[in-house]
């Protein structure tokens, strides 16, 4: 704990790197997965292919992907871009499965009502169906953000920056104090980000509080 308090400046600098590496992929993944998921929802074959591809991507271990990516895209090994691309792939893989499922869950009468009052399919998707799928999306985003923060810290064993460097440094110089400081910093970071996303979700879905509190979606957390 003392280490953390005496190294606040360093902690902040590392936190910025850590956040950059873990959250840019979340944003990029969201930007890719939502349109893609909405597009493939009604197309059976495309949806199946996407689901299968996503599962396979998700199965590739992150450390392995950090190392293999430079072979496929023109980046240097141990470059930050590899981490961002790899984590974007994971984020997209997870969300692209969640989006169609969330859209499936939109009640048919709601869709019909929207059509009846004159919404064209595209506008209906943007204004009715996607907003209704926000709770599921938020659940997915929380998992992805926390997982990414943890994955970036693992990346320090192959020389990727961020708060994980305190683990490798602390281990090499036998300073458990520094490792504990790193654990605390990453834990707090993850909890803060998780809470922020949760509150963002609440702000975006004021209607969920009107009809009573719905049960948290534990299944999506798995």
């Amino acid at each position: 704990m003392r280490y953390l308090l005496t190294h606040l400046d360093a902690a902040w600098a590392l936190t910025v790197i850590h956040l950059r590496l873990s959250l840019i992929p979340v944003v990029l993944g969201l930007l890719i997965a939502v349109p893609l998921g909405a597009l493939i929802q009604r197309t059976t074959t495309l949806r199946r292919m996407t689901t299968i591809t996503a599962s396979i991507i998700f199965t590739i271990p992150s450390l392995a992907l950090f190392v293999v990516l430079p072979l496929m895209i023109p980046t240097r090994i141990l470059d930050e871009t590899n981490v961002i691309v790899a984590l974007t792939l994971y984020t997209t893989a997870l969300l692209v499965r969640a989006v169609p499922e969330a859209l499936d869950a939109v009640p048919e009468p709601v869709r019909d009502a929207a059509t009846a009052v004159g919404y064209k399919p595209l506008i209906r998707m943007v204004k009715v169906e996607l907003p209704l799928s926000i709770p599921v999306l938020i659940a997915g985003l929380r998992v992805v953000a926390v997982t990414n923060i943890s994955m970036v810290s693992v990346g320090s064993v192959i020389g990727i920056g961020g708060l994980g460097t305190w683990f490798t440094e602390g281990y090499q110089s036998d300073k458990s104090d520094q490792i504990i400081a790193g654990i605390i910093a990453i834990f707090v970071l993850a909890i803060v980000i998780d809470t922020l996303i949760m509150f963002a979700g609440r702000l975006l879905t004021p209607w969920t509080r009107v009809s009573g509190v719905s049960r948290p979606n534990v299944k999506a957390a798995a």
Binding site: R42, T44, T45, R47, R48, T51, I56, F58, T59, I60, P61, S62, L63, A64, L65, V67, V68, L71, I77, L78, D104, R142, V143, V146, T147, I149, S150, S153, V154, S156, V157, I158, G159, L163, G164, W166, F167, T168, G170, Y171, D174, S176, I179, I180, G182, I183, I186, F187, A190, I191, D194, R215, P216, V218, K219, A221, A222
Partner: protein, 259 residues
């Protein structure tokens, strides 16, 4: 692509498989860490998930517990564990449990809690005791979700067991980390490829387990499955029926999971 060729030729050279630091030994170590961590995670998470799912009490504990465990960095816990307890099976097991418990706990809890209340009430009204309701009715119906949790847990653990090598504990991560340290990237690639293969194999095996565990006539027929083509629905429908007839001789067991 040069790295890839080097890596593949390394993997397909028999001499690299034997010995105490060969591929076979590394795979053995890697699997050992994985299996031990998955088992311990399951022993902790499944009973707790069953209890909370059955009683409905402590749901908050599942949600916060799962999030908190996920937020703890595995690498930090592993390295701290090694500094505190020395090398051995304990540090990697504890560290990897952090990854295994959340999906198992969430899966078990969600599986049990989502069993159709009518089925549970029917079981009770037939005079089943609470423990029988849990073990004979709720658990079989929740099995696909529990095994789904096991699948996620195994996948995460086998992928992350790579970091054990950083603390001189061996496993397939040895190749990855050594390869990067000495700038022999084809070696790192060997590690990456082997870990990926191992993860894919384990995942496929568990996916099959989940598929076979679907109770009764199966989710395939009950749930609308727009992602399956008609042929597949037909095929799996008849298949599921056949297996269900064999397993449930007393007839259709109950349209439950995620009902």
């Amino acid at each position: 692509m040069n790295f890839l060729q080097q890596a593949l030729s390394y993997i397909f050279t028999a001499a690299n498989w034997g010995g105490p630091a060969g591929l076979a030994a590394r795979i053995g170590e890697h699997l050992q860490y994985t299996v031990v961590a998955v088992l311990v995670s399951a022993l902790i998470a499944v009973p707790i998930g069953m209890l909370i799912g059955h009683t409905g009490r402590g749901t908050f504990l599942v949600v916060t517990g799962v999030n908190a465990l996920r937020a703890l960095p595995t690498l930090g816990v592993l390295l701290l564990g090694v500094l505190l307890w020395g090398l051995g099976l304990v540090p990697p097991t504890v560290a990897l449990m952090l990854l295994g418990i959340p999906p198992l706990l969430a899966g078990t809890y969600a599986g049990i809690a989502n069993v159709d209340r009518a089925v549970v009430d029917a079981a009770r009204s037939m005079g089943m005791t609470e423990s029988r309701v849990l073990l004979r009715v709720e658990v079989p119906n929740a099995l696909p979700l529990i095994l789904g949790g096991l699948r996620t847990a195994t996948l995460q653990i086998v992928a992350t067991a790579t970091i054990a090598a950083y603390a001189s504990l061996g496993g397939l991560g040895r190749y990855l980390i050594d390869g990067i340290k000495v700038r022999q990237f084809y070696l790192a690639l060997v590690g990456a490829l082997m870990v990926t293969a191992l993860a894919l194999i384990l995942d496929a095996a568990l996916a099959f387990a989940v598929w076979t565990s679907v109770p009764g006539t199966g989710r395939l027929r009950r749930m609308p499955q727009p992602l399956l083509g008609d042929e597949v629905v037909l095929e799996s429908g008849t298949l599921a029926q056949a297996t269900s007839a064999a397993r449930y001789e007393r007839g259709d067991p109950s349209p439950t999971v995620e009902g």
